[in-house]
Symmetry: C2
């Protein structure tokens, strides 16, 4: 099975149905298919071949989808960059995966020079923006216009589809290698769970570089549904699109859900076309879920819990468990149960299965589990110990197989739907000349779920402000990873073995609530 499967099937079964809607561009599957076949021809003429790695750095667009499809068409491997990353982080991923080409939109062309200087392997830049293509770049539209369509090479199965970079616990990002089979099996399982049924009109509101939207994309392609695409999430634009295109399906991270229900106009607009909302990628509170049900009563909710390393899907909390009337209330805090294709266990530090109700690490096995981390055999071996993906998430399982997550990977912070690895932030802070020691934790934030908070010990006689520290970090890491608040301590609490006790640091902030429950 290959990522392009859905496009071929849709062309065969509903060629003249609408495939993509983006800005004022509306295209059918026949048009999409033709454009992708030409674009693939164009890529080939630029010397991009099977197995070559190509980075996409762009906000959401129909051209982003076309790029994904055309790369898969010729067996190239995509590196969809997290557009919130700094140029240095993106350059790291380009060098790590030895990308030969970069696909970039208008928003990120200002970063081009720096990226080109830092990533010598990039021979070609393709521009997918609306403005004219910058110097020394190829235009996506021109490539489509001038190239001859070529047949799909049929690369799929265990062949690599993409390398998806996630923040690394050691401070460097890790490239998660996912195959066509990884992606397609997760998508099939989600369809079997009832996601995106026939005649779905789906909105790409989550960023296309992220595995969550990748599931929306793959499922919609397999269903032959309509892809409505918005560059970035903004409640007012989402509401406009829902009304205009009668959108039936949303996939949102909880931070987006929060923004949507907080937005005053949401309850006044016509949202009755919305039949289903999938959510995931970070914890959603019961309050948020109940508010969503009240604000958009036509929508059934489904939670998908997973991670990049498991091609986004591990457990599913189905529509039937999201009830506004309080039925199944005890399950609403669960992340769901193992989906059809996955085996899930909760294990102790020695990888022995924990009794039900006992907290341990959640591990997963199945056709959706990554091949490994690119160029990181040791990290791969640790993550896939014994053939099971060790998620780093702590939780327990009840007698009916529902998984409850009680803590994310000990030190990880989930802020606005993005994973922030504290070590990476600590590494940045530690480079500040005034800082002697530091520890970064997540503290509750009404908008972001958690926000990044730094506890700092200063060097003798030194001084630092919140603004100083933020500005310093911003030169090294993405804005969303930088600390939003700080506290100055005389010393950090340490265990007998000398390890910093973050649990102690967290206590004052989390005393009234459980942290990071799903």
């Amino acid at each position: 099975m290959q990522f392009t499967q859905g496009l071929h099937r849709a062309l065969q079964q509903r060629p003249d149905a609408v495939a993509t809607v983006c800005n004022n561009r509306i295209r059918t599957f026949r048009q999409l298919h033709d454009r992708v076949a030409r674009l693939a021809g164009g890529y080939t003429s630029l010397g991009i071949g099977c197995g070559d790695r190509v980075c996409i750095l762009s906000l959401n667009s129909d051209r982003y989808l076309e790029s994904y499809l055309a790369l898969a068409w010729i067996g190239a491997v995509v590196n969809p960059a997290n557009f919130r990353w700094s140029a240095q982080e993106i350059i790291y991923s380009l060098n790590d995966s030895q990308c030969v080409a970069l696909i970039v939109d208008d928003t990120f062309t200002p970063m081009l020079d720096e990226i080109r200087r830092g990533a010598a392997s990039v021979r070609t830049v393709i521009h997918i923006g609306d403005h004219g293509a910058p110097a020394d770049t190829e235009s996506h539209e021109a490539l489509i216009e001038k190239s001859t369509p070529i047949p799909d090479l049929g690369i799929g199965g265990d062949a690599l589809f993409g390398i998806f970079y996630t923040g690394g616990t050691t401070g460097t990002p890790k490239g998660v290698m996912l195959t066509h089979l990884n992606i397609c099996t997760s998508a099939l399982a989600l369809l079997a769970e009832g996601a995106l049924p026939a005649d779905a009109v789906g909105l790409h509101a989550a960023p296309m570089f992220h595995l969550a939207d990748m599931m929306m994309m793959t499922c919609l392609l397999l269903r032959g549904g309509v892809h409505v695409i918005v560059p970035t999430f903004r409640p007012e634009i989402v509401l406009d699109l829902v009304e205009r295109h009668q959108i039936s399906d949303l996939l949102l991270v909880p931070a987006m859900l929060q923004m949507l229900v907080d937005f005053p106009a949401t309850s006044e607009r016509d949202t009755r076309s919305i039949r289903r909302i999938m959510y995931g990628a970070s914890p959603a509170s019961e309050t948020l879920l109940l508010r969503t049900m009240a604000t958009i009563p036509t929508a059934s909710l489904m939670q998908v819990y997973g991670m990049t390393e498991t091609a986004a899907v591990m457990t599913v909390l189905p529509f039937s468990m999201h009830r506004a009337d309080g039925q199944h209330k005890d399950k609403l805090r669960a992340a769901g149960r193992a989906s059809f294709h996955v085996q899930i266990r909760v294990v102790d530090a020695e990888d022995r299965e924990c009794p039900r109700g006992e907290i341990g690490e959640i591990v997963a096995r199945g056709p959706n589990v990554m091949q490994g981390y690119l160029n990181k055999p040791e990290a791969t071996q640790a993550a896939l110990k014994g053939g099971w993906m060790h998620t780093g998430d702590m939780g327990f399982m009840d007698s009916e197989g529902y998984v409850f997550i009680v803590d994310r990977l000990k030190d990880m912070i989930i802020s606005g739907g993005e994973n922030v690895y504290s070590v990476e932030v600590e590494n940045a802070i530690a480079k500040h000349p005034s800082v002697s020691a530091c520890a970064v934790i997540g503290i509750p934030d009404p908008d972001m779920g958690e926000r990044v908070h730094a506890a700092i010990v200063l060097k003798s006689g030194a001084h630092v402000t919140q603004d100083d520290l933020y500005a310093h970090c911003r030169t090294l890491i993405a804005g969303y990873k930088c600390p939003r608040s700080i506290e100055i301590l005389e010393s950090l609490p340490v265990s007998g073995a000398g390890k910093i006790l973050k649990t102690e640091l967290r206590k004052p902030f989390w005393s009234n609530q459980m942290r990071a429950v799903a």
Copy 2:
């Protein structure tokens, strides 16, 4: 993904739900899991190892299901024998696949001596019947009782799951090699099509050796549904079970569907629990479908068109296209459209895709396509030419991707849901001393769909009756393959190139109807 996935998942999520119902035996998933783990331990103690081939020769039973699961548990490869075959045909398959063990029920123990003499590789016989185990056999129940449970070896993915023998066009059966991935991906796709939703109670009415029931089995396992098992299909027993166990889902071949709607009591019994009927494996007439809808009005119908070589699934005609009110009437004769995981094309003799509406051979590509025919590299290469499974079925595709089958493999006869290859029957007939030449065709039969008919040229002065010929063939091939009617001709019609023109022979029988339309 592995065949045992559903059992593990059901144990985790609904351990005390009913798993199997067979005769008066009712067992939960917890019990089924325990029995399978012990049985696997028992197999291991008998020296059956990973990769070993094991034949099952049995009517349907809960023990058949347990055997499938326990073999997959230890990575053994199953050869589920077609129980309508003669001992010689079964022996062929045992030798071809070098089976080390045979699992047999009471019905087939009378064949044991002959099979043992013919198949030297069979070291162990395991008895899954209700009566006492015959001499020199191991008892299934005793193995479960005395063995220690062992953990699932976790064999799956591209590992071989089974070798499924189909009648060979050259007169010898071919062993279709199917992997765990082949089976599981087809099952996931069927679930995505809406087959066997939550809380399904399914009936195993089709034989368990057949890929059609294998889909029922795998889907039901993945859903954690109830397996109600009947030894062989009989309308009165099926109706009893439907009432007693509130069966929601049936999978029937058209011959069974015909028997069910023809059975006088069907309309008088309470069949309201039946929500869905999947059918496939041979053509079903529009009349039969409309009668089914009228007789069991609570049932939605779904057609699945496929073959052993594609793990049973190629196209699906969904519930929504089966309407008693005449809507979508033009599609009711279609076999459906490519399912989520399959690519389907109609091609000419040079493998070029035919324009829509033009008749050609139906070919398929996808993760469900077999690895090949065991020990038959040339047949494998021919069948999988260019990476596409050449089905031998002739048909066309309409503008919406619906596939219409206009003729089965030119010479194949489908009788009572079973494929009968004419060459094999002709080989048998030709061995009769009175026969000079013969040709075997399928002719219309109200009960069987088609029946096997032989056109014969006698040797000079010789004589043969229908009964003679049947009895002669019965010593060589299974009863359902033997000719049910004969005609004596002076000569067979031949083409200029000397090939027998079966189309000419068929004409008088098929003048009023199209042959083998789906």
